[in-house]
Amino acid sequence: MGTSLTGWHRLLIKAGLLVLVLALFPAPASAQTLRVVKDQDCLRDQAQFFGQPVALVKQGDQLKQLGMKGDWYQVEFQGKQGWIHQSAVSTRKVSLSALRGTGTAQAATADEVALAGKGFTPEVEAGYREKNPNLNYAAVDRVESFQVPEAQLRKFITEGGLRP
């Protein structure tokens, strides 16, 4: 009796989980559109960071998904094919009504508001800076200028016996 109950519960847990997971994460359509969320990035000729850059993409650019390998999407953008890391793109859709500014408070969802650039934006930052002149945004800009050129990072990794 105990054994059959255990088996039954195990089956119940797994079946329930499968349903919940499938409901939360529907399989993406094969040719879905991806939106770039990084300020700018490169499409690469291979699914790796040190692949050769094929095309430059900017925030908001729409990429057509062709495939996926590990954490990398194979995409097409302006006639060029390449690879981009999944953390640089979003699959969430932008509501046209929110983008056009015709959405109402009741109709706007959190995603619509945020994706339409109506949440925390450069304008909000400018207002915040004006209210708080003691903040050191100049130093933040300096920190953001700290970049490691790709070739130099590659050399650093190789010389240190590390993995790219």
Binding site: G2, L5, T6, H9, R10, I13, K14, G16, L17, L20, V21, L24, F25, V37, K38, D39, Q59, H85, S87, A88, S90, A98, G101, G103, T104, A105, Q106, A108, A110, V113, A114, L115, A116, K118, G119, F120, T121, P122, V124, E125, G127, Y128, K131, L135, A139, V140, R142, V143, F146, Q147, V148, Q152, L153, F156, I157, E159, G160, G161, L162, R163
Partner: protein, 302 residues
């Protein structure tokens, strides 16, 4: 008893997934694993789904996270000076980029940037979005490059997990949504922008308070340590170095920022050691010695 455990597992998993609360799901999977209903692989994959669900439920875009991170960094940099050492700054950016690239979220809106704060305090801060600030005092305590990689990977872990953003309450996001939603038709003129600026200010205060005063939760610290071990291992660094650093920190009995915002160094060390144990001893390789040599050449260590 087993029937009760199974029921509890199902209830917690269902509740957690419906509420998009990863912690509740993890409680459920832990009970499920302990009572033999789930294998450790199944537990790991369900926990991963729960984490993804929770993140997806947060109404924030990468660019909003970026602006919050800039504001938090601007507050730190209003209090601390940047260390004026281009060579050392480039070096920690090289290490930082290497571990960030090996992380689960190598790309963020504004990318990862690492800077040294010119203070003897022993601390490190992860601003949302990828600006990571580490103090001169902290670097002075490190003995080699692999330890610095461990410190920076821990902070990259906080960025990956959006731990800073998590300190902004859901209620605050509700107010942002209301303010921004109302303003959608008027494209930001006057009142709505003003209230968004106030909400932005409150959100920054929430994050700053967590980073400086209250600290992250023990669970968040532990998860950042586990992430640091994964990222450093993937990048080719010796993950043992994080344990070495934590042990030195614990032995030193240093009082200061790092200990107040990263509580329980002894417990963290114990957990890190436990996670490393299955891999056995990790001897210092020739490559690690070479990395230590380039670290020593910069004379960051005390």
């Amino acid at each position: 008893m087993t029937r009760e455990l199974a029921s509890l597992t199902v209830i917690l998993l269902a509740l957690g997934l419906i509420m998009s609360c990863a912690e509740v799901v993890k409680m459920g999977t832990s009970i499920g694993e302990a009572s033999g209903y789930l294998s450790s692989t199944e537990k790991a994959s369900i926990d991963k789904v729960a984490d993804k669900t929770e993140r997806a439920a947060r109404p924030i875009t990468d660019s909003e996270e970026y602006y919050i991170g800039r504001a938090v960094a601007a507050r730190f940099l209003g209090q601390y000076r940047l260390m004026d050492d281009p060579q050392a700054t480039l070096y920690i950016n090289e290490i930082g980029q290497t571990v960030a690239q090996a992380s689960d979220r190598p790309r963020t809106h504004g990318g990862y940037h690492f800077a040294i704060l010119d203070t003897e305090d022993i601390n490190a801060f992860a601003c949302p979005g990828g600006i990571i600030l580490v103090t001169r005092g902290m670097l002075k305590m490190a003995k080699n490059e692999d330890e610095v990689a461990g410190i920076l990977a821990h902070e990259v872990g906080h960025v990956n997990h959006q731990d800073g953003i998590a300190s902004i309450s859901q209620a605050r996001w509700g107010e942002v949504l209301a303010a921004a939603g109302t303003g959608a038709a008027q494209s930001f003129a006057g009142v709505e922008l003003g209230s968004l600026v106030s909400l932005f200010e409150d959100a920054i205060n929430d994050v700053f308070k967590t980073l400086v005063v209250n600290g992250y939760s023990r669970v968040q610290e532990s998860q950042a340590d586990q992430a640091a071990l994964r990222y450093t291992r993937r990048a080719g660094y010796n993950p043992q170095a994080l344990a070495d650093f934590l042990a030195r920190l614990e032995e030193s009995g240093v009082r200061g920022g790092f200990r107040t915002t990263h509580p329980g160094t002894a417990e963290r060390l114990q957990e890190v050691k436990a996670a490393l144990a299955p891999s056995g001893p990790m001897p210092v390789s020739a490559a690690q010695k070479q990395r230590t040599a380039r670290f020593q050449a910069l004379k960051l260590s005390g």
